[in-house]
């Protein structure tokens, strides 16, 4: 179903959004490509011009209409995403939790579990590569690319990163509850990795705090003060290693030839 790009396509493409604003015809969600809708479009329509957003919207009825269409579409896409997970809908949750008990896309609970943990690793890799590495210029080698940060118009880039890390922490360590989160499972298996994972997460969050303490947005920091961005990148690398090497190794969650062949 590929809902991801419809909901959160980024980096934003102002050119695509401006083209819709400059056109005359009616605005319909179905006619909009992924770069012209979703969170990025909402963000650009609200913050893209800077200054007094509400006044700008009041002065530009088409901008206001566009925003209404995009928000309505975004709501529909998010509801579709929720329905995919909902046990009374697509029940993807059941695909994960009941793997091995009934036919699902994962032949065993271990395979489903491996998917979740590997996705945590990929999320951290995505943060490193796309949210930090590309804007910093260390991935492309062509110098900083401040336009490549996530949420550049609202200046929420660092808040987005923090939200990502909150998600990672909850999956790995639970939400304060004793037996929830990966750590509870690890502990019951005699693999006590909480000190390592906690240390790596704490270090990453401390690096994020240090970056935030500069008072700069991420787009500004990659140009004028790259050292704390690089430090965050390095701490996230250590966190990714803890997940993809230590945790996955301790739980034998390595991806195999497929679900049924190895020796």
């Amino acid at each position: 179903m590929r809902l991801g790009p419809k909901i959160d396509y980024w980096p934003a493409r102002p050119v695509a959004i401006d083209a819709v604003l400059a056109a005359d015809g009616p605005i319909t969600a179905g006619a909009l490509g992924a770069p012209a809708k979703g969170f990025s479009a909402v963000e650009y329509l609200l913050w893209g011009r800077g200054g007094d957003t509400v006044a700008a919207l009041a002065a530009e009825p088409r901008r206001c209409e566009y925003l209404g269409v995009v928000i309505a579409d975004l709501g529909a896409q998010v509801r579709a995403l929720a329905a995919v997970w909902d046990p009374t809908g697509g029940d993807f949750l059941g695909e994960l939790t009941e793997a091995g008990e009934r036919p699902t896309r994962y032949p065993t609970l271990q395979a489903a579990f491996g998917e979740v943990v590997n996705r945590v690793g990929y999320l951290i890799e995505n943060i490193r590569t796309n949210k930090l590495g590309k804007p910093l210029g260390v991935v492309s080698g062509g110098g900083p690319q401040p336009d490549g940060v996530e949420s550049p118009f609202s200046g929420r880039s660092l808040a987005d990163l923090r939200a990502n890390l909150v998600g990672v922490r909850r999956v790995l360590l639970g939400d304060g509850a004793e037996e929830l989160g990966l750590d509870g499972y690890l502990r019951r298996r005699g693999r006590y990795l909480a000190p390592l994972v906690t240390a790596r997460l704490d270090a990453a969050e401390a690096a994020l705090d240090a970056l935030g303490a500069t008072g700069l947005t991420l787009a500004q920091a990659v140009q004028t003060e790259p050292a704390p961005v690089q430090a965050l990148l390095d701490r996230l690398g250590e966190l990714q290693r803890a997940v993809q090497v230590d945790v996955i190794g301790a739980l034998a969650l390595t991806v195999g030839f497929n679900d049924a062949d190895a020796d």
Partner: protein, 452 residues
């Protein structure tokens, strides 16, 4: 030193002594059926696309870089032909030719990418080759129906049994290490996966179960072939082997591994064993006269066995622990020995024009390729060469590639695998040892990870 021609002659005559070809025929049928099944699985599970056609980069074997997947539908046609050859082998229609075709196509598929290497695939290729050079259609075949069943030289069984013995004995020898025998790893890790099984789950999730199965596996591998060959222990050994491989098949994700091994061990039974199960399938009554084997045949057979002994031992020529370095790991029957997880970042630097980038994701690799590469130094070197070549094509010179590679072996904390300063673009892809590989205690994660 002078050789004893009479002794050599006696060996030659003994090897040429005619014996029932039924056991050989049964092996041929089993190998053909497993080959057919695996061919069907490749198509049904979408592996033709995901493993061969979709990857834009393949980890080719040094010396076999020219082996590439055929475009589009031709790979499907090739697998179809492979399946037909396997079926033809099972039926015994032009048995040796079928074995050769199946073996060549199956080996071709595995040669495309190192990430696809599996020990039981390698064994299937070897068995197919041996069936192509032995009178594998002597019994239970359409060939035999056309020409009449024939006896075969005892040497055929000796050759195939030696091959199977190499598999098991070296698999057993490889298990003589502290991880396997003292810590029950990696079985402990793998058995924990089944902790939620009713009744047996809590038993499997114990150190005792891991150690018990580790020792049982080691003893099974070391002694199963002699116990199968000795008539007095054959029945018990066969029962043990069936139980062992069935348990492995039920507990671990090993695909057709158990089927391949159960097919292979049948060659260690009495040559006429299938006739007990097939009433009326009497063998040929008039044995052929025993013509001593020629020197060439003897030499080739001995060379083959010698090669099968040397290959699993070649890791001794490399420094370091083979389970960590993986130098000499493949083609050595080091089966189910390690559980590894790894992660690697690359850094590419160019002298002119000056440039430096970090490669933190590898979108041109499949999940399997990523996983395999992250723990295997030679594949990391392969990818470093690929990165360097890509940069040189873009006009950069003085390209260096380094890797920040970490691996967990059998549940241990991550350790650094390679010297992060070593230029892997300059590392050899040949048989020489990779000097960039660090010992496993060189660099360990600095946070306490065991105990509570």
């Amino acid at each position: 030193m002078a050789t004893d021609p009479r002794g050599a002659g006696r060996v030659s005559t003994w090897l040429a002594a005619p014996v029932d070809g039924a056991g050989l025929g049964a092996l041929r049928v089993f190998v053909g059926l497993v080959g057919l099944w695996q061919s069907v699985r490749f198509v049904a599970r979408g592996w033709v696309e995901t493993q061969w056609l979709e990857p834009s980069f393949h980890f080719t074997w040094a010396g076999f870089d020219w082996v590439r997947p055929l475009p589009g539908g031709w790979m499907f046609a090739l697998v179809a032909l492979q399946g037909l050859a396997a079926l033809s082998l099972a039926l015994g229609y032009r048995s040796r030719l079928s074995a050769a075709v199946f073996g060549a196509l199956f080996t071709y598929g595995d040669l495309i990418d190192k990430a696809l290497y599996l020990n039981h695939h390698y064994l299937l290729s070897l068995l197919a080759l041996l069936l192509a050079v032995t009178p594998s259609g002597a019994a239970f075949s359409l060939d035999a129906r056309r020409r009449g069943e024939r006896l075969v030289g005892r040497g055929v069984y000796v050759l195939l049994r030696a091959q199977v013995a190499c598999v098991y004995v070296f698999a057993g020898l490889a298990k003589l290490n502290a991880d396997w025998l003292l810590h029950g790893e990696p079985l402990r890790l793998w058995l924990q996966v089944h902790h939620d099984l009713p009744v047996v789950g809590s038993l499997l999730d114990t150190q005792a179960a891991a150690l018990l199965m580790s020792w049982a596996g080691m003893l099974h591998d070391l002694f199963i072939v002699p116990l199968l060959l000795w008539p007095r222990t054959r029945r018990v050994a066969l029962l043990a082997a069936i139980c062992f491989h069935t348990a492995i098949w039920l507990l671990f994700p090993i695909g057709v591994f158990s089927l391949v091994m159960l097919a292979a061990i049948t060659i260690c039974l009495a040559p006429s064993w299938p006739r007990r199960w097939l009433r009326g399938a009497a063998g040929p009554r008039a044995p052929l006269p025993a013509t001593p084997l020629g020197r060439t045949v003897l030499t080739l057979g001995a060379a083959w066995i010698a090669l099968q002994v040397v290959l699993p031992l070649r890791h001794l020529a490399y420094p370091g622990e083979v389970n960590w370095t993986e130098e000499g790991f493949r083609f050595a029957w080091r089966v189910m020995l390690v559980e590894k997880a790894g992660h690697v970042d690359f850094t590419v630097e160019a002298a002119s024009p000056p440039a430096r980038v970090r490669v933190m994701d590898t979108p041109d690799l499949t999940p399997l390729q990523r996983t395999m590469m992250a723990t295997q130094p030679d594949m990391i070197v392969d990818y470093a060469h690929h990165l360097a070549a890509t940069w040189r094509e873009r006009g950069y010179t003085g390209v260096r590639v380094t890797a920040d590679a970490w691996v967990s072996l059998n549940g241990r904390p991550a350790r650094r695998l390679l010297d992060p300063q070593a230029d892997l673009a300059a590392a050899s892809r040949g048989l020489a040892s990779n000097a960039a590989i660090l010992p496993p205690d060189a660099n360990v994660n600095d946070v306490h990870t065991s105990g509570q």
